[in-house]
Symmetry: C2
Subunit: 228 residues, 2 copies
């Protein structure tokens, strides 16, 4: 399976926030043996978001988005995803109930625009949010899977663990395990020269070299059958 990771939020394009979600999701997908070919960040802009989703689905089977599920006018991710699949947004009563009790618990007034968070693309799998207001959704049709996760990592990570990981694991024939070997005292070019033959001939496990900070690193990745 080929995947792309798409973070939505102008705050990322302004440099106010580091995109740690992309790292977290990439790492998870690598373990599941799902190839990530692109990470993209796009602002809260309907037209560019739509283009990005169209473009990504031309290259990939799976898009995982983060952000843009909130209550405000510029939260557009779910709407844009629904449009891609030609789905209407319909009320999910459980999501609405959770939303209402969330505000009750915090003793906060629930403004009208909050209700939009309880609307989900028809037929989507709803991922209820225990750590915030916006549920996530998974829409799958014709071999294309769109996973919409909320932006805050404290919401995104538990939702990924609970819903997305098992959902994707079921589809994977193989899993992957990587070990990183830190190499001291030599540069990347020298290190690469040392393992050149292995890089060229070895297919399982594979080996790759790169520089991480001041270190040269060998990344060794083995593939095995997924028993799940």
């Amino acid at each position: 399976m080929k995947a792309e990771i798409l973070a939505v939020g102008t705050e990322l394009l302004l440099g106010d926030v580091v995109n740690t979600n992309a790292q977290y999701i990439s790492k998870q997908l690598a373990q599941l043996g799902i190839d990530v070919y692109y990470q993209t960040v796009v602002g809260d802009n309907a037209q560019r978001l739509e283009k990005t989703i169209l473009n990504a689905f031309e290259r990939a089977d799976l898009i995982i988005t983060s952000g843009g599920l909130g209550p405000t006018e510029d939260d557009l991710t779910k709407e844009t995803g629904a449009k891609y699949f030609g789905k209407n947004l319909v009320l999910d009563q459980k999501a609405m109930d959770m939303l209402e009790s969330f505000f009750k618990r915090l003793n906060r007034k629930m403004t009208e625009n909050n209700a939009k968070q309880a609307y989900v693309p028809e037929g989507a799998l709803v991922m209820y949010n225990k750590n915030g207001t916006a549920p996530g959704v998974i829409t799958e049709e014709n071999g294309k899977i769109l996973v919409n996760l909320p932006g805050p990592p404290r919401e995104l990570i538990p939702m990924f663990e609970e819903y997305v990981k098992p959902y994707l694991a079921k589809k994977q024939e193989n899993i992957f395990v990587s070990r990183v070997l830190r190499v001291a005292k030599i540069g990347e070019s020298e290190a690469e020269n040392m393992v050149k033959n292995i890089i060229a001939t070895q297919t399982n496990p594979t080996i790759a070299t790169y520089v991480k900070g001041y270190e040269v690193v060998f990344r060794i990745t083995a593939k095995a059958k997924n028993e799940e």
Copy 2:
């Protein structure tokens, strides 16, 4: 000016590294009043890198890349950039001298593949690297500017400060200053409701709301003439 930020490196797509460079560069460009519409991460893959550059230059005037300037076979950023502009790579003697003395200083053997770092696109501005081996380059032609920076932040940041910032500042008519106002005790939707009229009518400064961790934030941005 419209910009895109492009990080090159499979380690980012595997989730081994967080893309802090994108945040740093985005922040710098915001201050210069340069709009960033997309951040992209692509692996060390010639074909996808080339496609990404082509695609980005269809939408933007400026691309700033990080990574892929090293000595190994999969470091392809400079080569791909040169190809886009139809330029040959030529030896930069000063870069070669710096490279040789870098290895002498460290008492390390300079392997043959290191020499490729001293080759730059013909006519490019060479950004000498005081903190590593790979020089950066700026290529500008027909209104398209490609800035290639090395991946490690300890090399990228001083190079941006010394070369890229003044290079771009000269082209900017306006500069921008942002202040962030942290809002307590209310949710994003309620906060947005409070400033809805300002958002709709105000053009300088502008105001935007978003959630950052547990906080709601107002971002106020003012535009002024660049005196540089």
